[in-house]
Structure formats: C-alpha cells, structure tokens
C-alpha cells in the first residue's frame, strides 16, 4: 500500500470535529455512572488499536489481545496496590509488562505465520482464564481482587464531589487515548511503520530491502500488546477491581472483530470499530426493551448480544466491505 494518507480527508476532519464536540459536551450532560461507562468505552479503543497495529499494519493475525488487556490490568493492579506505586508509574509499568509479554508471544510469530498464528493466539486467549486462576497472588484467583488505591482528583482540581473526580478520570482517559492515537499514527507513518507494512505485504522482499524481520516483528507485537495493556491499566483506574472473568476468550474475539469491522490498516478504523460496538450495544438495549413481540422479539433480542452482531457483522463486512467501515466509500487499492 502506498503511503497516501498523511493528510486528513474532508470526511475525517468532519468526523474528528463531531467526535471532539461530543467528547467535550459529555461531562456536562451525564451522571457519574454513565461518565464512567463512557470512559470505559473510550479506553477500549486502545485494545482495538493494538489489534490493528499487529494485524492491520504488521500482518500478524492476533485473536488473543484480550490476554494483553488482562496482563496490563493485573500488572497495574499489582503495582499500584501491592507495591504501592503512584498511579502514573503503575500504569506505565503495567503497559511495559504487557509489551514484554507481547514480545514473548511475538517471538514464535517469527516462524508461525498467517492462519497458524491465528490458531496459536486463539489458543492463548482460551488458556488465559485458567492460567490466571493459577496465580492468585497477582490475579486474586477465581473471584478477582479489589484495588484499594483510588485515582482521585488532586487538590487543585475544582470541586471535590464524586462527579468532579469522575470528570477528572474521564479527561485523563481521553487525554491518554488521544496521545496514544497520535503516537501510533506517527509510528505507522514513520520509517519503522513502512517496514511493518513491507513485511505484511511480502516479508521476503522486505528482508531483501534490508528490513530486520526479527526485530521488526517483535517490536510490532510489543507495541500492539503495550497498547492493549494500557487499555487494561486504564480499566483498573476506572473500576478498581480486576478479575479473570472479565477476560474470557470471547472478549479477545470481540476486540478482534471490532478492529476488523472498523477497518484494519487505518487509525480511524479502530475508533470506528469501538463506535460501532457502542451504537450496536445501545440499539440492542433499546430493542430489548420491547416486550410481547413473541418469537420475533426473541429474535430481535439477539441484536442485544454484541457478540452475535459482531460475528454476523464480520461475515457481512468481509463480503461487502473487506476494508471495514473505514473503507466504505474509499477506492480500493490495486494492491489488495
């Protein structure tokens, strides 16, 4: 793929503007609880972005990114609670831990490619739950563990109500996510980003042109796992409780599906994927409110299950828009 998207198109400027306005209005019109939910949704962009980096840019199919979200969450919880580190340091270290575990998984990815890598990462996603039950010191075992430390607004922050703290956490998450999007955008458009895409399209050719396959693949996987880990760390910040039952294999698959539905290989695809997931969830809630439709209502209830909608959406989009929601209306590149 030729590097043509350095400048913003008109559609993405419009999209960004609407998104910014919505993000700015949100704290004024919602309650504490829904602001926290909004923050969680915003944070989940990072996990989807992680899959996008590995699969969309690096060409390595990862069905197991929920694992790295989990590693990030458990690690951050451990650092902030058991080691009593400050939040920022704990989240940074949690991200680093997830990135290291990602590098470890990236190592076999040097030889295991394509559909076989999908297989291995799916296996990882399935093993993660029983594995994390086995280390109760870090994960709280079956029932999970609460985090005593709170990420509260500092003294200079106006107001000291619960709402003020919620707004503080919300803004912090938005800031981190925007920063992560900006950094990732710069990475994929850098020299390193070009070597990532070169490997995706043809690794032999990339190697001939002097790209170091080993370090590029491992770094790509580490970055992508780090993003997912950051998502996990921020989740702990928002809800101070970590438990293995938040990370079933289906969660990994829904993250993957969000990335594909949004569009692989564009940064906005990840945002779109999460937006789609949110819209689908809300629409499902609205539909589930109707009763008395009999079997039809029962069938409509399926729309309340994001996993079902995303599964079906994955199939439909593969046929209609192979490049995801972000690819609708964009000309297909001849190389694809």
């Amino acid at each position: 793929m030729v590097d043509t998207q350095r400048r913003f198109s008109r559609a993405s400027i419009l999209g960004i503007t609407i998104l910014c306005v919505a993000l700015a209005i949100l704290p004024f019109v919602t309650s504490t609880t829904s602001l926290r939910q909004a923050s969680q949704i915003i944070v989940s962009v990072l996990a989807v972005l992680g899959v996008n980096v590995a699969t969309g840019y690096g060409g390595m199919i990862s069905l197991g990114h929920g694992v790295f979200v989990g590693v990030g969450a458990f690690a951050t919880g451990y650092y902030v609670d058991d080691l009593s580190l400050p939040w920022l340091l704990a989240i940074a270290l949690g991200t680093l831990t997830a990135a290291l575990s990602g590098a470890l998984v990236g190592l076999p990815a040097l030889r295991i490619k394509g559909i076989h890598l999908a297989l291995v990462t799916l296996g990882l996603a399935i093993v993660f739950q029983p594995l994390s039950k086995r280390f109760p010191k870090f994960t709280g075992g079956v029932s999970g563990t609460g985090i005593d430390a709170r990420f509260d607004a500092p003294n200079w922050w106006p107001g000291d109500s619960r709402m003020a703290s919620a707004v503080y956490r919300y803004l912090f998450c938005v800031l981190v996510v925007v920063l992560a999007l900006w950094v990732t955008w710069n990475i994929v458009n850098s020299r390193f980003g070009r070597s990532m895409r070169a490997i995706r399209d043809n690794d032999t050719a990339a190697a001939i042109y002097g790209v170091d396959l080993v370090s590029a693949r491992v770094t790509t996987f580490a970055i992508s796992a780090g993003l997912a880990g950051l998502c996990g760390g921020l989740q702990v910040l928002l809800v101070p409780f970590v438990s293995q039952d938040k990370f079933p294999a289906q969660e990994s698959l829904v993250i993957y599906a969000s990335a594909v539905v949004g569009g692989l290989g564009t940064i906005w695809g990840s945002v779109l994927g999460v937006l789609a997931r949110t819209v689908v969830g809300k629409a499902g809630d609205a539909i589930a409110g109707f009763d008395g439709l009999g079997p039809i209502g029962e069938f409509l209830n399926l729309l309340d299950e994001p996993a079902f909608v995303f599964g079906a959406g994955l199939i439909v989009l593969t046929f209609l828009f192979p490049r995801g929601l972000a690819g609708i209306g964009r000309k297909r590149q001849p190389s694809e």
Binding site: P108, L119, P130, L264, E305, A307, F308, G311
Partner: protein
C-alpha cells in the same frame, strides 16, 4: 509409580482421545481440501449437540423464560436416532456454510477466511446462549455408565462408554475410508485435496466436492459433540477448550493427515490426563496449557507434524 493407577488413567484418557481424534479429523478434512482452519468447528458441533438434545427431550424452554427454541417441534426420539438426526443436521449446516460463506469468497486471503470462521464462532456461540441459556444441561448417557458398568483389565476399569465411543469412531472411519477409496465422489475428493486446479482440468466439479468435504467434516464434529456432551455437560462454551485439544492433535499429527489426526488425538488425550496427574503445578484446570505449548513447539520445529506433507514456499 503405581502401575494399576497408571493403567487406570490411560483407560480414562482413551475416552477423551476418541473425542479429540474425531474433532481433529473434522479440522483435517477441511484443511486438507481448502487450506482453511475452521475455528467455528467446535461451535457448529455444539449446536448440533443442542439439536440432539431437543430431539431427545422435546422442546426446551430457556432456563429463564420461554424462547425461540420452544418453537422447534420436538418429538422424543431414541438416543441413536437423535444423534443420527443431529449428525445429519450438522452435515447440512456444514454444506450450507461452504456454499454460502466460503465458496463465494473464491481464493481469498487468510485474513478473510479467519474473519468468516471467527464471525461464525461468535455468532453461533451467542445464538446458543440466547436460545438455550448459558446454564449447563444434562445430556443423557449414551452407553451404560453407572457403577460397575466396565471391563476389568489387570485391576483397572475400562468403562463401557470408552469402548463404545471407540467402536463408533472406528466404524465411522472404516466407512470414510471405504467412501474415499471405492466411490467416484471419494476419488473426486482425493483429487481435489491434492490439486484443485488439476482436478478441475480433468472434469471434477470442485465446488460440490468441497461441499461434500465440509459436510463430512461437520458430521465428524457433530459426532464428537454428541458423544462428549454427557461427560462435559452441554453448554454453549462446551467445545471451546476441546477445540484447543483438537487443534493440538491435528497439528501434532500434521494438519493435512487424517491418520495424523487419529494418532495426534490419542497422544493429546493421553497427555491431557497423564501430565496433570504427574506434574502438580499443571493441575486439572490448566490441563489445556500443555496442549497449547505442544502446538507452538510443533509449529516452530516441525510444522508438518508427524505425518503431514512438508510445505515448500516459493519466493
């Protein structure tokens, strides 16, 4: 080491081995002909186990409130009939999947095929949760499995159900071999497995042949699910872990070798029981970890497995 205990564990492991072998066979049949790993194989199989369940016990309301499943006209079938019905449904579903979702894609990339099968996995999984609820159901035993229903071999107990499952698996395998060796459709399938383009040139209709392949594979998957539903309890995620074992078995044996699937299933089934028994850290809960590790190691060291064909990549 207690030899009787070891023998007992081997006897217990043989049951799982049969299940893994048949699901691995399903995966291998599809991979051999299309180069596609069907991640949805386990969920499709679980779905057919639910169909068998409905056929057996009539319409089942969800654990909470009534549901769509209540619309299925259920007649209480006998167990063998219900399983045959479920296997036929599974075969039909497999054929439809190939025709509607895989064939139209043509020779699409790995990514597109992964997307389709993962989409199927997610959709089927939540469909089952919606229709039948997530609570485990008790699937009736197929073979006499009460106390004392076993053969005694040197002090170890070999349960009737284990023997029964192996008899079914082996007889179906004999049927499969006869089908592949002695019928036109079997010949066509073997030709397509070796080279779809050459098979087409000599007049084999590749599309329908692949459809039969998918039907066969899904039949094996359905059989695996129905036979194991009694011991692992029927629930939407029933086959998710089994799928890892089956994939490990298929990888170990070589992803394109039916013989490998059988041998791989045996080895993985045995190691799943024996490793947790003798390595305390692993324990029952983590027994899926050795399977994953085995899979990674084989893919790294010998991607062709025990009996698979070596892949040669052209640059």
């Amino acid at each position: 080491m207690d030899l009787v205990l070891l023998l007992q564990r081997v006897c217990d492991a043989l049951f799982n081995s049969a299940i893994y072998s048949s699901l691995a066979l399903a995966l291998v049949i599809i991979f051999r002909s299309t180069g596609l790993l069907n991640f949805a194989q386990g969920e499709m199989a679980t779905f057919t186990a639910y169909i068998a369940f409905v056929l057996l016990s009539g319409p089942q309301p969800r654990l909470t409130g009534g549901g769509l499943a209540g619309l299925v006209p259920g007649v209480p079938f006998s167990i063998p009939l219900a399983i045959i019905g479920a296997v036929l449904c599974g075969m039909a579903a497999g054929a439809v999947t190939e025709r509607a979702l895989i064939r139209p894609l043509g020779g699409a990339s790995d990514l597109a095929l992964v997307n389709i099968t993962i989409g199927l996995l997610l959709a089927t999984n939540s469909l089952m949760a919606q229709w039948w609820g997530t609570g485990p159901r008790i699937f009736p035993a197929i073979f006499p499995s009460g106390a004392g229903q076993h053969f005694s071999i040197l002090g170890a107990r070999l349960r009737y159900s284990t023997v029964g499952v192996w008899i079914i698996l082996l007889s179906v395998l004999v049927l499969l071999v006869l089908l592949l060796r002695h019928t036109r459709a079997g010949l066509a399938f073997r030709a397509v497995s070796i080279s779809p383009s050459n098979a087409e040139l000599v007049g084999v209709r590749v599309g329908p042949t692949l459809m039969y392949g998918w039907a066969l594979a899904s039949g094996f998957g359905a059989l695996a699910a129905c036979l194991s539903a009694n011991s692992v309890l029927l629930e939407p995620n029933m086959m998710l872990r089994v799928l890892v074992y089956a994939f490990a078995a298929a990888t170990l044996g070589g992803l394109d070798s039916p013989k490998g699937a059988l041998v791989g299933g045996l080895i993985i089934g045995l190691s799943q029981t024996l490793i947790p028994a003798y390595v305390p850290f692993i324990g029952f809960e983590l027994s899926v970890l050795p399977a994953l590790v085995a899979m990674v190691v084989i893919l790294l060291i010998r991607p062709a497995g025990l009996y698979g064909t070596k892949r040669i990549e052209r640059v």
